[in-house]
Amino acid sequence: MSSVAPIAPVPVAPTTARPAAVARRRLRRGHVARRVGINLLGLAVFTVMIFPVYWMVATAFKPGRNIQDYKPHWFPAPATLSNFTNAVHRPYFWTDVKNSLIIVSFVVVLSLTVAFLAALALSRFRFYGRTAFIFLILGTLMVPLAALIIPLYITLSRVHLINTLTGVIAMYMTFVLPFSVWTLQGFMRGVPRELEEAAMVDGSTRFGAFVRILLPLVAPGLVATSIFAFIQAWNEFIIAYVFLHDGSKQTITVWLASFTNLHGTDWGPLMAGATLTALPVVVFFVLIQRRIAFGLTAGAVRG
């Protein structure tokens, strides 16, 4: 490091005021140029990242003749809603939205209830086998769904749950439940135990302390975890694709595949459908992003 020439301005007593002022101005000009350059780079990265999302929405609002043109039309002018009406009136759109909602609600309620109890045990008690259970939860990461789907298919075909929403709900627990347990116990650990203990010293029962102290403090974490569970279940594709055969039983992500047939793809309606599929996820995601972003890495850097 000592071989590197110092770049930081070394304080030297100026002989006259003028050269120092010039140097300072030059320095500031270099600084400004650098800042402009960096912000331009930021703008370029922004454009590249946002473009696909923009292109989906723009295409969704374009009339067919502007979509099927070799020269791209950068703006959806004139704009039309016909792609959306087309998508919504396709077979099974509403049925599949309903299926997705049914599956997602059951998965969220079920996994959150069970995960809440487990997280309570992990964050509030020390007991034999606790670490082993945490390893088990983290270890579930290593099981790829594409591998698990084979034995799941065999099992469900034995109990005749293929092509039923019940089977899919059960299978979604494989990835939603461990995730929910892990995130929730992280949130609960963030609530200091001392608060509950103080309440108990003040004459509250353990349950009372739990209801009055822990529950309100952990409520935002509960909401965030449920929304994330919602997103995971809503976005899932492969399980729904393999296990739900009828068009009337599929979920919205599988429905999106119906736009491509042997004749090609109906890009306008597909982009409209994709926009509709992404919409609830984006809204929820933006709401909770700050809370959940660090669930998987939290505390890895302690400054």
């Binding site: 930021g42 999302v53 606790r130």
Partner: protein, 317 residues
Amino acid sequence: MAVAESEFPLVSRRRRRLSGRRVASALAPYALLAPAAAIIGAVLGYPLYLLVRLSFEKYGLFELVRHHGTWVGLGNYRKIFHDSQFWHVVLRTVVFTAVNVTLTMVLGTAIALLIARLGRFMRLLLTTALVLVWATPVVVAVNIWRWMVDYEFGVANWTLTKLHFGNFVHHDWFASSLSGFGVITAVIVWGAIPFVAITVYAGLSQVPQELIEAAQIDGARAWNVFREVTLPLLKPIFIILASLSIIWDFQVFNQVWIMLGERPSPDYYLMSIYAFVESFRINEYGLGSAIAVVMVAMMMVATLVYIRQMVKTGEVR
């Protein structure tokens, strides 16, 4: 003496009552965990056991109807290990994972460093874009990219031709598996950058500013500051992000499957696709399971690194 004697049973009674309560509170965590453990056992534990068992069985359509496989010992493994296509797929999966993880990590970190230097407005703009990309469901993302590289009306072909990268008019990106995987990598890296960038950026903001200033006063250039100060401090984050990326990219399925219209040619087989096709297209569930078991075993390594780092940073306590 008499006093002590009369006190004795009282103490022991109190102790018994106390220990009764202690037993109850010792059992409480197990009772709370029981439902979660039962569900994980049923939907993950049992299928995993079955997966391993299936990998030792011949299990085709006939067995599927009969609900019973035929034990063939190591037969399935012998078959795949002597199959040159299997080794091609393994190699392709490993290279694919390495490329995707490297690109994700490098670009994600670069963007995080960029965000830290941006003005307030640009920073807000860029983070918003990242969050939007992050929120885009995979199935939707794949369809968007499929549309952008469409051979007839895709925006990519027009732009590349206009920028004089060559003649891309009616260029089919999936004709060669190399350029096809290029598009798939673009989807994956594009979708994975936000998580890495935002997490690293959050880590950067926790690096004490004095350390960086001290290094700068010592005359370190930006790259050296990054290498000597930032990188070592953020090492735990990088290890966790890298192992998570390996875990996710190694099991990529949807991106390939949907991008290629649910009918990928063997040139596009990754391990997950291969196991899936062997099982659900060719109905050789035993062979598919053997491939999946090899896959799980390979995943275990990355997971162990992740868990070890979580233990080190005190996340597992």
